[in-house]
């Protein structure tokens, strides 16, 4: 099990296109991946489901926890952190 905690810096949070990108990236990995919105609270949600990710209601400035469990857990967390930090907009 691998995890990382970080702050989302995206004008629309993890909504709309950024949410789609996030889910698309998560689906590239075999591991079970969860996202938790630490700022708003709530249970860990399936990062491969657009509905769950949108429901996490991650806004700009929210703190999130990403966890991955499976064969490619290290790569999965690294890739998602990189996406949230650098690749959500544009």
């Amino acid at each position: 099990m691998k995890e990382a905690q970080l702050t989302v810096q995206s004008s629309v949070g993890l909504h709309a296109r950024p949410a789609t990108k996030f889910v698309g990236k998560a689906k590239e990995f075999a591991s079970d991946i969860r996202i938790t919105n630490l700022t708003r609270g709530g249970d860990p949600a399936d990062a491969k489901s657009i509905i769950f990710v949108i429901k996490a209601a991650v806004a700009n400035g929210h703190e999130i926890l990403i966890t991955a469990d499976g064969p490619d857990e290290d790569a999965a967390v690294e890739a998602l952190v990189d996406l949230v930090e650098h690749g959500l907009e544009g």
Binding site: S11, V12, D46, I50, G90
Partner: protein, 568 residues
């Protein structure tokens, strides 16, 4: 006996036509499983495949904005958080496929709505739309009344989903009226993209199909069963405007010169690439106000630098040798954007608006300034900042502009070399201090709508006081005089880009006050030019003096109307 309903103006224009009332269809279906869960699972799978195929087709056939809505439907359709509960309701709940879809759709929509967030509320509507589409496929019902319309009609509904709106055959929707919704709801967005009038948020309206209605999308009014005189008035008014416009259009491409040979620059307010083309056709001599908000509307992400650059370039290309004044993003107040989250404010008109917002969001500002400079590469750029209240804001905005230019130079990117910088005068403090601000800029553009509401302390979106927001108030006239005198003393030019500039009645007053440029919506250009050719500058000056001495807006209006009568 006619009935008038008032709602929110959502898409401009006026139209008269028969009503088509869209009643939300309630599908009847069985809720049990006559042959066990297996056949229900098979039916569900076929229906999902069928709907996926249809949605993919729609993504391709409709415009950008609408296709994003269907792309979202597609993602939800295949999401495990939607499909897994449906399968569970079939496997262990003993429900038919239709009943399982209904329950799962309701649950997901309710979960979205339980979270206090506008974006999630809008997605709840998407889930319900998807739920209904899937049930329609399952019951084999494609008898949507909207798809069957054969006579051009005004569509009246409680609400319209995107999938319903695009199912209407081309040319059959004359206009839209909905009981719920806001100017940013799907129905409003789609009406604007189709170019038909729409009024939303009408509350409960009781009508039946076949009744005749007048939809006024500018005023937000719907008149049902109008009397013959009202229909005639609406049609006559439309025809009279069309005729006057046709006559004025004949001379639209000639300059606007007063009887005593004074040239006035008549330019257009433009809010899209299409608008720019309309402005050219209407005889506008350039763009006095390019509203850049359209790039940010109807979307939840921010437009990137390259995207903005391409649009600015396309608009500059419509006016290769004429001025194009680009205003930086002007939101806040009554203009909200889904892509930019602004904390709720008690007094949004006195809050983070216009330049205040872009100064607080350097990421947005820097990207836009770079894109404007790149979009005007090979020519000069004119950039204007909205909602300026003080000199320090101008200093900060100019510094941001310099930084954007320097960053482009560092990267070796092509940009406009000559840059003219202007500010909008909308806040009374800026008008009063215009003599101090004039030295800091190349031009002023007076936004009379906001200048009027701030000067008269009238919220123009508040119906109870909106009629008091009269731009012909002598207080506003006096501020315009102050601004023009301050600018001319420094050798700078002044434009007016509020509604007042497009009102032929006010042209004499503004020219008499010394305004150098009038910027208006494209359809007003030929009419204002025609008016300018009928007056002299000398006569306008004495008219302006009389208006400055007036006490009430009614006195000003009477003076201007007397001028018209004398001229005739």
């Amino acid at each position: 006996m006619s009935t008038t309903f008032t709602g929110i103006p959502a898409s401009p224009g006026t139209v008269v036509g028969p009503i088509h009332l869209h009643a939300a269809v309630q599908h009847d279906f069985r809720r049990d499983q006559p042959d066990g869960p297996g056949p229900e699972r098979d039916r569900l799978k076929l229906a999902v495949d069928d709907l996926r195929h249809r949605l993919e087709g729609r993504v391709d056939e409709v415009g950008d904005t609408a296709s994003e809505i269907f792309a979202a439907h597609l993602m939800f359709l295949d999401d495990s958080a939607f499909q897994d509960p449906i399968l569970a309701h079939i496997d262990t709940g003993g429900l038919s496929a239709e009943a399982a879809v209904e329950r799962a759709g309701n649950d997901v929509a309710a979960e979205f709505e339980a979270i206090d967030d506008d974006y999630l509320a809008a997605r709840a509507a998407d889930i319900r739309d998807l739920r209904d589409q899937l049930i329609s496929v399952l019951v084999g019902s494609d008898t949507d009344d909207l798809a069957q319309i054969t006579e051009p009609s005004i569509i009246v509904a409680h609400d319209l989903t995107p999938s319903q709106t695009v199912s209407i055959p081309a040319g059959m929707a004359l206009g839209f009226c909905t009981e719920v919704g806001s100017a940013v709801s799907h129905a409003a967005i789609l009406a604007r993209s189709m170019g038909v009038p729409a009024v939303v948020g009408l509350g409960s309206i009781s009508v039946v199909s076949g009744q005749v209605a007048i939809v006024d999308g500018d005023e937000g009014i719907v008149i049902v069963d109008p009397g013959e005189t009202e229909v005639k008035q609406a049609r006559d008014a439309q025809a009279a405007i069309a005729e006057r416009r046709r006559l004025a259009m004949e001379d639209a491409h000639f300059p606007a010169e007063t009887l005593d040979g004074h040239l006035v620059e008549v330019v257009a307010n433009v809010g899209s690439v299409d608008d720019a083309a309309r402005a050219v056709a209407a005889g506008a001599e350039g763009i006095g106000l390019l509203r850049t908000e359209f790039l940010f509307l109807d979307r939840t992400d921010l437009p990137g630098e390259d995207e903005q650059t391409a649009v600015y370039k396309a608009i500059h290309d419509q006016f290769p040798t004429s001025p194009v004044v680009v205003r930086t993003l002007d939101v806040g107040g009554d203009k909200e954007l889904p892509a930019i989250q602004i904390a709720p404010e008690l007094n949004p008109f006195l809050g983070v608006r216009g330049l205040r917002l872009t100064l607080a969001r350097p990421d947005i500002f820097h990207t836009q300034l770079r894109a404007i400079l790149r979009g005007a590469a090979g020519r000069d750029a004119k950039i204007m900042f909205p909602m300026v209240a003080s000199a320090t804001e101008i200093t900060a905005a100019r510094a941001a502009l310099d930084a954007a230019a320097a960053s482009l130079d560092d990267e070796g990117l092509d940009r406009a070399r000559e840059i003219e910088v202007g500010v909008m005068i909308e806040v009374p403090s800026a008008a009063v201090m215009a003599d101090r601000l004039a030295g800091m800029v190349d031009f002023f553009s007076i936004g009379t709508n906001d200048l009027t509401q701030y000067t008269l302390a009238v919220d123009r979106t508040n119906e109870a006081v909106a009629t008091l927001a009269d731009a012909l108030h002598p207080a506003v006239t006096r501020l315009i005089r102050t601004v023009v005198e301050a600018a001319h003393a420094e050798g700078k030019w002044v434009g007016v880009c509020g509604e007042l500039a497009g009102d032929p009645l006010a042209a004499g007053l503004l020219i008499g006050l010394g305004v150098d440029e009038l910027s208006m919506s494209p359809p007003a250009v030929p009419l204002v030019k025609e008016k300018i050719r009928s007056i002299s500058r000398e006569q306008s000056r004495s008219c302006a003096r009389a208006c400055l001495d007036a006490t009430t807006p009614d006195e000003v209006r009477a003076i201007l109307q007397a001028e018209v009568t004398n001229a005739d």
